[in-house]
Each structure stands twice: as structure tokens, then as C-alpha cells.
Symmetry: C2
Subunit: 336 residues, 2 copies
Amino acid sequence: MSTISISLDEIYDLAKKTLLFNGCDEDNANILSDTIMRAERDGSLSHGLFRLPAYVAALKSKKVNGKARPEVKKISPSVIKVLGNSAFAPMVLKVGLPELIKLTKETGVAVLAITNSHHMAAMWPETEAIAEAGLVGFACTSYKPMVAPAGAKKALFGTNPISFAWPRPGKTPVVYDMATAAMAMGEVMVAARDGHKVPLGTGLNKDGKETTDPKEISKGGVLLPFGGHKGSAIAMMVELLAGALVGETFSYETAAKDNNDGGPPRGGEFILAISPEKIAGLDWEKHSDEFFKKMQSMNGVRLPGERRHKNRLDKGPRKINKELIEKIKKLFKGSI
Amino acid sequence: MSTISISLDEIYDLAKKTLLFNGCDEDNANILSDTIMRAERDGSLSHGLFRLPAYVAALKSKKVNGKARPEVKKISPSVIKVLGNSAFAPMVLKVGLPELIKLTKETGVAVLAITNSHHMAAMWPETEAIAEAGLVGFACTSYKPMVAPAGAKKALFGTNPISFAWPRPGKTPVVYDMATAAMAMGEVMVAARDGHKVPLGTGLNKDGKETTDPKEISKGGVLLPFGGHKGSAIAMMVELLAGALVGETFSYETAAKDNNDGGPPRGGEFILAISPEKIAGLDWEKHSDEFFKKMQSMNGVRLPGERRHKNRLDKGPRKINKELIEKIKKLFKGSI
């Protein structure tokens, strides 16, 4: 793979130029470019510049409003709702997260319910922001059907990621962000390209049979939840929390309404924040630190988020796929 | 296996007589006997009379106070804490759950943080009670180390169950309650007894190697989390929520403090309740019902909790292991 080395500032500028050219206003372009730059910075490549063509597709089809102003409403003493007004999720989070954090510090626990938003980024930026404010963060969102419930042979659930972050004042939070599918479809496609097998339990072929051949899964097959029935139960919980609970669509409704332009469909997100200080008192920090030290002292164990936070320390340029850069440059020259 | 057929009332009476004889007062004996009866009624056998000898052991050693009066404190606008005062969990829940439900209906979301309690029952009784009040319920608790974090060869996590319940007014809630271990140690021991193999991923032998031989796991080996790294991340979350967040022990601290009388050790529990009506509005019920119908229409899919709720409809007697009944009778005759 041929790559080009570009700085983090250049990554931000490239994204911003592209978004401004394709219908974003300054505020929307800034926050989305920042999300993309941070994904590249942390080595979360599938959420970086790679997503830009899809963001542009959604702007061009006018499914997403690049000039949107999401509205924050406090709908009950511990619940904030943000009406996304067809914005990309990072813009929605920008206005919602500070309110969630403020409220949680007063009440001890609060929910941020997001509707009419288009999510295609990772979710660790939101749970990390909550943890950096000294709170515990949890987030989940659904998508389009790609995963069969345990026992079934057809897709109903999205890949339905969940993210959890635990605060460590003065240190990076412990944070994870993972699909409730056994494997993301992108990874299955990479395995197919490289001629690798995937573990049993990753997915079913078009006849509903388990297979280790990634091509059989990506072409007419279906993904499975991680961990069998138990993972399936968690994927179901995500459908309910990010769908009926916040007042947005389930994955199958999301797909039915989408214009299939390749950009992120309209959907909801559920975010929870909890204050360990309010609940456990001041000891919580020392106490959880002992636990993490215990985990780190075990051979073979890595704290979730460690690798990403290590990547972050490198302020230098990143190697970006040359073809991707060429593709993006065409997007803001208006030549396609 | 030789069994005796006894009615649900007789199961309750047997449990109550045993508990009263061994140091419980009327209130504590009533609520604990009800929990045991309901477990037998619903076919959740490993949480029914089977647990009674361990409850008695904890009463005899005075680790648990059978006359305890847990204290409810509202510690912030959306958080209730219950100091268990060394009670069995069902007694703690009896005083805490009504307060949690009342508060959640006002605020939209609330946490019940439980400390100094002894949990050995299932958790679906608490999440179901929340769902029966029209709210979404989530609960988790840790235990003693029995599960190795993904990548490790030694236990750090408990079997750390999580329970989730979604309300369906007029119908039984959709509810699950599952260990974050790949398999409960009890099931591994049953497989060992019956000469069955267990799936790879269930546990490691004493040398830290994966094995399908349940004997190698139960004798000096260790369980694994369900679903590899992803399940391990969820087991870690349970340690944090039921430990440092509520202000109680992690599994490894729980074990260090326990007197090993065979009864449930002292620990914490984290319970969350959320109001779909407050967040999504009145449509939530119809909306989630459509989703469940969609799930049920898929071949091979069962809604979590269905089998247990079907068992519940049978008001007749239950077949109880004869040896267990004999063992229990000795407990309240004081002859051991």
C-alpha cells in the first residue's frame, strides 16, 4: 500500500476544506474535522479520513444538513434530549455533552438522548469526554441490520457498538468501544481480500450455515453477535436503548428510511453519565486505581484504550493511504 | 435423581421455617423465602432451595445478620444508597426498589447503589420489579475471583452477572440475567459429573491452557469470560460499577475479607432504572412491541425470559431433589 506522510494539522485542514466545499458551515466542518483528525491521531483508522467520502455523499444527497444547529432540551430533572436536526453526530455531541456533564455533577446520574442524528464516527470521543470530566460514561447506538440474533439466520440487529469509559484524573481514562457483532464487516472484508479464514462464530453464509470463509459472510451472508446468546442479548439491549428508549428508530426501521447514498443513516444514540464521587465519595479514585494496577500486573492483560492513548502521544505526521488522499482531493475540487 | 413433589406454598414454608430457626426475624425470613419460592416457581433451580444451606451457613457464622434493617439514603437528586447492614440482598432490595422506582418516575433516570449486602440470589427479581413499574432496569454485581481477564491465566473477575429488563405493560417484561463468565462454575461441575466436554473458551486448566475437559477447569483451573476480549471488557465494567462506583469491594477484595463459610460474601450491587415514557414519550410501548414481534417472527429466536415466564404460569407443585429436602430438614431441626 502506497502512503503519504501528512501532519495532524494537514489531516484536519484536508477534512475541513472538503467539508466546507460540500455544504458544511464553519462550525459543522470544524467539529467533524476534529473528530476525523483525532481518529487518525489515535490510530482508529476506520473512523478517520476513510469516512470522508461517505460524509460527503450524505451532504450531497442532503440527507445530512451540514449547517444544522442541534437543539438541547432538558426534558426531565436528569434527562437531556438533543434533537439533531439532521446533523452529523459530532455536532450534536458538541452541544449535548457539556450539558450532560454539568447535569450529572448535580444529580449523580443523567442520560443524554439523541435523535435525528447521523452517526458514523467512533463513540470513544463522547465517553472519553465524559470520563475526562471525572464521570463514568456509557454510550451505544444501532445502525442498519447486519447481525442475526442468536438462533436466527437473518440480520435484525446493527453491529450496535457500545462504549464505556472510566475516569482516571491525571491519567488517560480506561475506555473501550466495540461492536456487539463478533467482527466488524470491514474486518471480514479485509480477511476475504487477504485470503484468511475467520473464526467459527463470526457469521453465517447465505444458507444460514456457519462458515470460516469470510467471502461467504460478506456476499449474501450475515454476521453473528459476539459470544453467542449472551452477546445477542446485549445487541438487543442496544436496539432498545438507542431506539425505543430515546425515541428513535430500530436498525430495521433505520434501513427502511435510508436513501442508501453510502453516508450514515438517521438514527439515535443513548448516552449515560454517572458520578463516582457523588455515589462512592472521594475514595473512588484511589480504589479503582488499585484495581487497574492489579489488572496491569497480570501477564497478558492490557487495559482497554491503552494502545490508542499511546498512539496519541505521537504528535508527528501520519501515513495515509495515497489512493484515499487522491479520492478526497477530487471531492473538494468538485471534479466528481 | 429421586424427587419429592411439593407445592409452592410448601416451598415457601420450608424455607421460612429453616430461616427462622437459624436466626432470621420474621421480615427477613419472609422476603428471603419469597425469593427462594419464586426461583423454584420460575425453574431457576440453582437460585431456589438449593441455596438454603449456604444462607444458613452465613447466618450461623454471623457473617449475615438475619435481623438486619437496611437503611435507605437519598445521596443526590438521582441517586439512592442502601446500606445493607449485613443483610441478605432480597431484604435490601425490598426497602430500596420502591424508592428507586418512585425517584426514576420523577427524574427520568436514577441509580440504586447497594453496599454491605450479601447477594446469592438471581438478579431478575430486581430488574423485573423495575420493569413491572414501567421502567427499564439494569443490575450487576461482582463476587469472588473465578474468571481470568482475556489474555490472563489467573482469576481476577467474579462470574459478574448482569441483568436487563424491558417493560411491556400488560405482558411479562423481556428480561435476561446472565453471568459474564462463558459458563457458570456449577454447569462446569455438572458437565464433569456427567462426563461431557465443554466448548473451547469455557476455561483454562491449571497450566493456563485452554481445555474442553470440565474437570481440568473445576480442579485448579479458571473460567474465562464469555465472548473473549469483548466479554472480558463487560466483566471489567461490572467490577467497576458494583465495586468502586457504589463504594464497595472488587471481587478480589471480597474474597480476601470473606470467612469462607460457604455463604454469600459481603459485596455491592449497582442498579439503574430509566423511564422510557419520560424520554421517548407515550409511543415507546407500541414501538418496542413492534420490535419484539419482529424478533419473535424469526425462526429460532426466543425472547429472553420467555421460558421462565412460561414456567411461572404453572401454579402446581414442583419436583424437588429428595436429598436436598432431607438436608434442609436437618437444618431446622438443629441436628447438625
